[in-house]
């Protein structure tokens, strides 16, 4: 289930915990992001991580609950616990470092059903199938040996077909902001993916000269 997370560069521990709990965190940097990028079945509750400035985090959480009508889970440091008494806009809060079970339960209580392996976790493109719950890809019914990053790149392509992505965009969206290695990495992985898709399917990923790549 997609879940808006703020600030757009949350801590790795929080991201890992959300993913482990079965959510797909989507970084948002303003309230328009939350409203405009809402997925078809709606968001899971929003998560706001408090870094240094409690005030601005709470203000943004208030906006989410007012303007996007979403419950908000605040992630705070233990020292801020007392402050929470006065914050009515906050649906619930959780102390960091995060206990994963607690995170899952609190998000459920805020309104999200428990994420389950459902049809929505299977992605298809022609004879390609991606199982998002088990990370497995099959091509023409046969399991494909993908590395983790090959799998993530393919998943991104299948989720966003028909659009041209620059190498920089792919780096940011698939590898993440902390990746060091340069956009040559994208070329290397596209080349590998094409080989693994096989000759007939390698054209699914087309190179758009001096721009980037397009899938589908």
């Amino acid at each position: 289930m997609l879940l808006p997370i703020y600030p757009p560069d949350p801590s790795a521990a929080l991201l890992d915990a959300l993913i482990a709990a079965g959510f797909q965190p989507v970084p948002v940097s303003n309230i328009d992001d939350v409203i405009e990028r809402a997925p078809e079945p709606g968001w899971a509750p929003a998560v706001v991580e408090v870094r240094r400035d409690l005030g601005s985090a709470v203000a943004f959480a208030g906006k989410i609950s007012d303007e996007a009508n979403l419950p908000v889970l605040l992630v705070i440091d233990r020292t801020l616990t007392a402050e929470m008494a006065a914050e009515s806009a906050i649906g619930d809060f959780i102390l960091s470092p995060i206990d994963r079970t607690e995170l899952r339960v609190r998000l459920q209580r805020l309104g999200a059903g428990p994420p389950e392996v459902e049809a929505s976790e299977i992605l298809n493109f022609r004879d390609l199938e991606l199982n998002l719950a088990t990370y497995q890809a099959t091509i023409g019914g046969f399991p494909s040996d993908l590395t983790y990053m090959e799998y993530e790149l393919l998943r991104f392509f299948v989720e966003n077909p028909g659009r041209v992505w620059s190498r920089e965009q792919l780096l940011a969206k698939v590898w993440g902001y902390d990746y060091f290695g340069g956009s040559r990495t994208v070329d290397v992985h596209v080349r590998r993916l094409r080989a693994k898709l096989g000759e007939e399917r390698s054209s699914w990923i087309s190179t758009v000269r001096s721009v980037g790549y397009r899938f589908g």
């Binding site: 790795a12 890992d16 993913i19 482990a20 088990t134 990370y135 497995q136 399991p143 040996d145 590395t147 983790y148 990053m149 090959e150 799998y151 190498r167 920089e168 060091f180 290695g181 340069g182 956009s183 040559r184 990495t185 290397v188 080349r191 590998r192 080989a195 693994k196």
Partner: protein, 427 residues
């Protein structure tokens, strides 16, 4: 447990993997492996697997034989050549029980050198041309499979089926092959791997050597990366196409300069040329390596550069038109029996020294340095080199010199067939 680790766990479960091989190399680049069961995998990924390092070449040291192999989940691959497909592998970094990197681990040596390059803003890319021979078996009298030559096609090239299978295995292992062909010598072949970052490529080369040998073995023949197995024919080299990227730009490219090479590329090249003799022991680490580095067999003998000079150690290939990314330097001395982690480390260190110290290329009238002509010469040059010592660290530097001096001493005591055939009848 991060997503990459979860991916490995999930794939092992979903694909019915029964053994996970943990790979690393010793200081000479031999692949070492031990297998764990899926039940151990989660612990291996999070805490590492303990093993006794005392029997690994270059790992043994007083009082610290216990080592931890920390699997790198980004290198998880199902091996394509084991029957049933139930074996996977991961490369490991070797650390001490307290978690500090073990300085005798070649992978960690390369990581260290790449970090230095990162700090200067560079990513080091390598694209190798791997040459090797197929023989009937591993006996001391090598028997070739064919008498084909460069680019020859059937029926002289009986091995193209083996090459094809090898390429398919490599592609499944995420090692893209740009091209493959029959090489100049009988039964000699070449695989050109598509360039990638140096750490990945060192892993890829170790994997490629194994894949080539596995496929050959399945066909009842023998593949070898020995630098010079046949007297009178070209040996097997491993030309390395080198480039430094700064973010998305090829730092070696300049549209304004002659040759399309940037000032950075010239400095890097000057570093390679100045330090080539010192690093040769690492790029060419066997007694036999120096039987290849002789004039007349398309192998370099001088620390010089050119467009098409067979004796020069650096070649400047002509890049594809309009493709700045294909501008590169080709370093021609290494052979495929080197330890790629250490070879990339010293090559990078030599090039970076040229950049840091603004080396100039030697002027036209100065005679170029000769590359070492024996392992002993190469070891002498290496022993005097603070550059190599810094790049490898004291542990690897000292162990390597000790081990290789012993190899040279053993060779010195050997009475060869050359001596018996030429001296015995007349002396």
């Amino acid at each position: 447990m991060n997503k990459q680790q979860q991916y490995v766990l999930s794939t092992v479960e979903e694909r019915g993997i029964r053994f996970i091989r943990l790979w690393f190399t010793d200081i000479l680049g031999s692949l070492k492996s031990f297998a764990i069961m899926p039940a151990e995998l989660e612990i291996a990924l999070t805490e590492g697997m303990q093993f006794d390092g005392s029997s690994i070449d270059g790992f043994s040291r007083d009082r610290e034989s216990d080592m931890l192999a920390m699997p790198d989940p980004t290198t998880f691959q199902i091996l394509p050549w084991r029957s049933g497909g139930d074996v996977a592998r991961m490369f490991c970094d070797i650390v001490r029980p307290d978690g500090t990197p073990f300085e005798g681990d070649p992978r960690s040596v390369l990581r260290h050198n790449l970090e230095r390059a990162h700090e200067m803003g560079y990513t080091f890319y390598v694209g190798p041309e791997v040459e090797y021979f197929y023989f009937r078996d591993a006996s001391a009298q090598p028997e070739v499979l064919d008498h084909g030559g460069y680019f020859d096609l059937t029926p002289l090239d009986v091995a193209q089926e083996y090459r094809r299978e090898t390429i398919m295995a490599l592609e499944r292992l995420s090692i893209p092959v740009e091209s493959a062909h029959h090489e100049v010598s009988p039964s000699q072949h070449e695989l050109d791997l598509r360039h990638t970052d140096a750490l990945n490529m060192a892993d890829n080369l170790v994997t490629t050597r194994l894949a080539v040998k596995e496929v050959a073995m399945e066909h009842g023949i023998y593949a070898t990366f020995m630098p010079k197995p046949l007297e009178g024919h070209d040996g097997s080299g491993m030309h390395l196409h080198l480039s430094l990227f700064q973010d998305d730009d090829n730092g070696f490219f300049s549209a304004d300069e002659e040759n399309g090479l940037s000032p950075l590329a010239y400095k890097f090249m000057a570093g390679l040329l100045r330090h080539a003799p010192e690093i040769t022991a690492i790029t060419n680490q066997w007694v036999n390596s120096y039987k290849r580095l002789v004039a007349g067999y398309d192998a370099p003998v001088y620390a010089s550069w050119g467009r098409n000079d067979q004796s020069a150690v650096v070649r400047v290939p002509i890049p594809k038109r309009g493709k700045s990314s294909s501008t590169r330097l080709e370093y021609r001395s290494p052979d495929p029996a080197c330890n790629p982690y250490l070879a990339f480390s010293v090559i990078l260190a030599a090039g970076l020294a040229g950049i840091e110290n603004n080396y100039e290329l030697p002027t036209g009238d100065a005679a170029p340095q000769h590359l070492p002509t024996t392992l002993a010469d190469a070891l002498d040059a290496m022993e005097r080199s603070s550059l190599v010592k810094d790049a490898l660290g004291d542990h690897v530097f000292e162990w390597f010199l000790r081990n290789k001096r012993r190899e040279w001493d053993r060779y010195q005591q050997h009475v060869s067939s050359f001596e018996l055939e030429n001296y015995l009848p007349v002396l």
